[in-house]
């Protein structure tokens, strides 16, 4: 049985903190030596995965973009060992990710999409006061350092009732990691056959441990740098709440099951989190509140999606046993999600107020390409894996109706209408769909373990400038 080196892994990789306030500081490094010294300092404050005796009021974690690792002047051999997608940075992957139109990097908030973003410092806090105090303390220290500057900041906070802006309770399904010490909940892991689940091998998320193939995931040398590390995807996703609500209401006008059921069909869970696969006809607060039950389900009995549509958001995010070959096509594409909403809620029934709100989407994995990018491009922004034609996820999909680079777009006109099928007798079609989520900025980061942070502060400045 694998045991993770918890005190040397940054905490949020292994467990969600359930601290409802978050602050994000993005830094730029101009002086590698000064940055290295600061990294050594802040390492002592970094929240690790070692079990807490009591929950802290606030804590800090830190991650680096490839541009940031270059700015630290690490040796070339180490830099070259990072994977291609990480080295390119998120903006260069726009086509693959469907970040076009409103989501295109040229529309991102500066300085996202440029090599200026080097370091991400995440503050997680119990209260706004604790957040502010910790933020002030960090800023004051950074202010004193020449050659280290804050170039962007962001705050996020949980909404009332643990929902996100489209009105759905969130955060139910997380993969359980073998060796994490976090108790496994039913439904969380990999399909083990015979309706059972097992935790996922840690190397799917944490470098230096065996993955689902039984080998160590590719990692940049030396092990001192990469072991206990992970990769973080950070995306600021704006949610056009007014349009989503309008789209839902309009579609519900002709949907026999009513708006709440239709809302559930889109996501695969009722608003309160009850899985459709478990309770297809009505939400069940008892189930939703019970972590032994709210994620314990599979789709084996529902291949046609009559209970939970094949294209529903949670089913796309984790198809479980609805793909053939007993989980082999699913187990290597799991994500650990750590996001939090941002922005004020739009009151029910209100017109769009032009304000910025959405979710700070974050996920962790050992391979950004095989996990995040794959899920985004193959499972959310496309339908072929599920036999859903050109259908995209209703919430995340660009809904632009034309495949990349294809002349004349699809086999019809460039205005191919996008839809989602809700299976039934007869089926119901939600559409024409328009984009309701757009990317406002993002980046790929490396989350070093404590040993990795030690390596960075020691090795910085060792490469060719």
């Amino acid at each position: 049985m694998i045991r993770l080196d918890l005190p040397r892994i940054q905490g949020f990789v292994v467990r969600g903190y359930r601290l409802p306030f978050a602050g994000y500081l993005f830094l730029n490094i101009e002086d590698a030596a000064a940055a290295a010294a600061w990294i050594a300092e802040i390492t002592e404050d970094v929240l690790t995965a070692a079990p807490w005796s009591r929950k802290p009021d606030s804590g800090v974690n830190i991650a680096f973009s490839y541009a940031g690792l270059c700015a630290l002047e690490l040796p070339d051999a180490g830099l070259a060992g990072f994977p291609e997608e990480f080295r390119q940075g998120m903006a260069a992957r726009a086509k693959l990710l469907g970040d076009d139109g409103d989501s295109a990097p040229e529309h991102w908030e500066a300085p996202f999409g440029t090599p200026v973003v080097h370091v991400l410092v995440m503050i997680s806090a119990m209260s706004p006061e604790a957040l502010e105090a910790h933020d002030r303390q960090l800023r004051a220290r950074i202010e004193q350092i020449q050659g280290l500057n804050i170039v962007y900041d962001q705050v996020g906070s949980a909404l009332a009732g643990g929902a996100e802006h489209f009105g759905y309770a969130d955060g139910f399904a997380q993969p359980s990691i073998e060796g994490s010490g976090v108790p496994s909940l039913p439904g969380q892991g990999a399909i083990a056959g015979g309706g059972r689940w097992r935790p996922i091998r840690p190397g799917e998320f944490i470098l230096g441990y065996p993955d689902e193939e039984g080998v160590l995931p590719p990692a940049p040398p030396p092990a001192e740098l990469s072991t206990n590390g992970s990769y973080l995807v950070y995306r600021k996703l704006h949610q056009d709440t007014a349009t989503f609500r309008k789209q839902l209401a309009q579609a519900a006008e002709t949907y026999p099951g009513g708006e709440e059921l239709l809302a559930a069909k889109i996501v695969g869970r009722w608003r309160d989190g009850t899985p459709l696969a478990v309770s297809p006809e009505r939400p069940d607060p008892a189930i939703a509140a019970d972590e032994q039950r709210n994620n314990a389900f599979s789709y084996g009995e529902d291949p046609d999606g009559m209970a939970c549509p094949v294209g529903a958001h949670v089913r796309r995010a984790n198809p479980r046993d609805s793909m053939p070959f007993e989980g082999k096509l699913v187990n290597r594409h799991r994500l650990i999600r750590r996001g939090i909403p941002y922005g004020e809620e739009l009151p029910p029934g209100a017109e769009d107020d032009g304000r910025d709100r959405g979710v700070i989407f974050m996920c962790l994995q050992a391979s950004i390409a095989r996990q995040f990018e794959f899920v985004q491009s193959e499972w959310f922004n496309a339908g072929n894996s599920f036999g859903l034609g050109a259908d995209q996820d209703l919430m995340l999909g660009p809904q632009d109706g034309s495949p990349p680079d294809a002349p004349g777009a699809g086999n019809g006109s460039a205005e191919d209408k996008m839809k989602m099928t809700v299976p039934g007798r007869p089926p119901f079609f939600v559409g024409p769909l328009s984009r309701v989520v757009s990317t406002r900025g993002g980046e790929y980061f490396f989350v070093p373990g404590i040993n990795g942070l030690g390596y960075l502060s020691a090795a910085a400045g060792g490469g060719v400038a």
């Binding site: 002709t254 034609g389 294809a406 002349p407 004349g408 699809g410 086999n411 019809g412 191919d416 209408k417 839809k419 119901f428 079609f429 559409g431 024409p432």
Partner: protein, 183 residues
């Protein structure tokens, strides 16, 4: 040549490997890269072509220590593969007339190419450089290009109509259906 090996349903897999003339490899690569893509591709004029490609193979690849004897081709090769509506002979004719002068522009870089003036010689050249497949898989080998395109359009039309139909009463539905699908 066992043509059955190259067949799956009504689809045929043609693989042609022709030697590139001395010093002509780089010009050939440029020529291929310059071809218009998508619906403007010269292959769009060859009826029955599902998916096809030209690949320049400069030399074979050496695998290292386990392979005791390295290999080198005396000349680079141009690989042409096409998945098309069989049978072979009529397609070779269509390739000749459909590609027209592009055929000469491309295979003109290859040794022994007779030109397209004599379609019989053109076809014979390709056939004499053809590879036989050991295994050919076609996901929809029973469908011609026309059938594929037609049904894709039909499917698209059905989806668009189904979206509109949700707001229609019975009489409107039937008359709209008849209009859209000329029923």
């Amino acid at each position: 040549m066992n043509h059955r090996r190259n067949t799956c349903g009504q689809a045929y897999a043609l693989s042609v490997l022709t030697p590139i003339r001395d010093g002509q490899e780089a010009p050939l690569v440029r020529c291929l890269n310059d071809l218009p893509e998508g619906t403007g591709s010269p292959l769009a004029s060859v009826a029955g072509t599902h998916i096809a490609r030209w690949v320049v193979i400069g030399d074979v690849v050496y695998e290292g220590a386990g392979q005791r004897r390295p290999d080198h081709l005396s000349a680079g090769r141009l690989l042409f593969t096409s998945n098309f509506d069989g049978p072979l002979e009529p397609y070779l004719q269509r390739l000749c007339t459909g590609l027209a002068e592009v055929a000469d522009r491309i295979w003109g870089h290859c040794s022994g190419y007779p030109g397209r003036a004599d379609p019989g010689a053109f076809a014979a050249y390709l056939r004499s450089h053809q590879l036989e497949c050991s295994l050919f898989f076609a996901a929809y080998g029973g469908r011609t290009v026309e059938q594929v395109e037609h049904s894709l359009t039909t499917r698209r039309d059905v989806i668009d109509f189904a979206l509109r139909a949700q707001r229609m009463g019975a009489a409107e539905l039937q008359s709209a259906f008849r209009e859209v699908f000329a029923a």
